[in-house]
Subunit: 191 residues, 2 copies
Amino acid sequence: MRELRERIAREGRNLGRGILKVDSFINHQVDANLMMDVGKELGRRFAHEHVTKVLTAEISGIAPALTTALVLHVPVIYARKSKPITMPERVYRETAPSHTKGHVVELLVSPEVLCRDDSVLIVDDFLATGQTIAALARVIEQSGAKLVGIGTVIEKTFEGGRAFLDARYDVPVESLVVISDMSDGRIVFAE
Amino acid sequence: MRELRERIAREGRNLGRGILKVDSFINHQVDANLMMDVGKELGRRFAHEHVTKVLTAEISGIAPALTTALVLHVPVIYARKSKPITMPERVYRETAPSHTKGHVVELLVSPEVLCRDDSVLIVDDFLATGQTIAALARVIEQSGAKLVGIGTVIEKTFEGGRAFLDARYDVPVESLVVISDMSDGRIVFAE
């Protein structure tokens, strides 16, 4: 997605330690039309996987997951990080270390919305270490549903997430923009 | 929106104390196509307000705010409840009591994404007491931007939010489905 890459080159900020600030168009403020294009492209790449549900983690995964679900005409589930009072007692619960938050986050999904008949596409804004996505994949395993693909908006290859996921899950992993290096204040695109 | 009302009548659960469980199609799991219809209808109702930004509060406001922003072809901002490392030091900060969570939540918006030239539509999933929406309106005031309207998916009139907002803000307040009574386990629609 050339438009997305150009936008990152223009507005993205390298804050050091691998942290990419894109909160003027991807998280915090979201460029809705650009996010629809993200959904169209992820939807196109997974159009033949017979997806029945898109799964993401709150908060910044919601926008790309929703637009992808719109294109695929399926519901989207966002795993909660804390348990709302509307959630039943028994839930699918996994944890993932958050390297930007510096602590472990919980990911909770209600058994009411995910079942063994589902074919699930995971969508998130970033593929970094792959830990959050792996936790979502374990939620899918708990439910008995089938993981059919993983799609992210921005991949940072130098954090090793793709290798981590490829070693564990035999599904296509697609990222729309790939960043190979953020050392020395740079943002280097792989393609 | 008849489809939305029928969906609430069919799948919504009255959990008591005014709490409506709609997490199979509005929050947690989101019916993407229904949420797009929500955005189309809110977009239609505010089409003449010259909206430049849609503002919501994470988490469950994001989906309806994003689809409304898609229809209005403007960016959407979600106020953060905790400060990410990508946010600058100085932010617009307001607080609101959360009656479902039982404590006070912070709402943070970066001055980088909201400025005095903006005409802002607030969108949220629920209009209950109006406290969260009023906190978002105070964020808009802090920024010098102009509040031009308030749109919500589901209004619970018995919690008084509309009267609270009408007394403070001279802007249109639109809700797509209005619930007038949830006593005795019922869900009574106003229209």
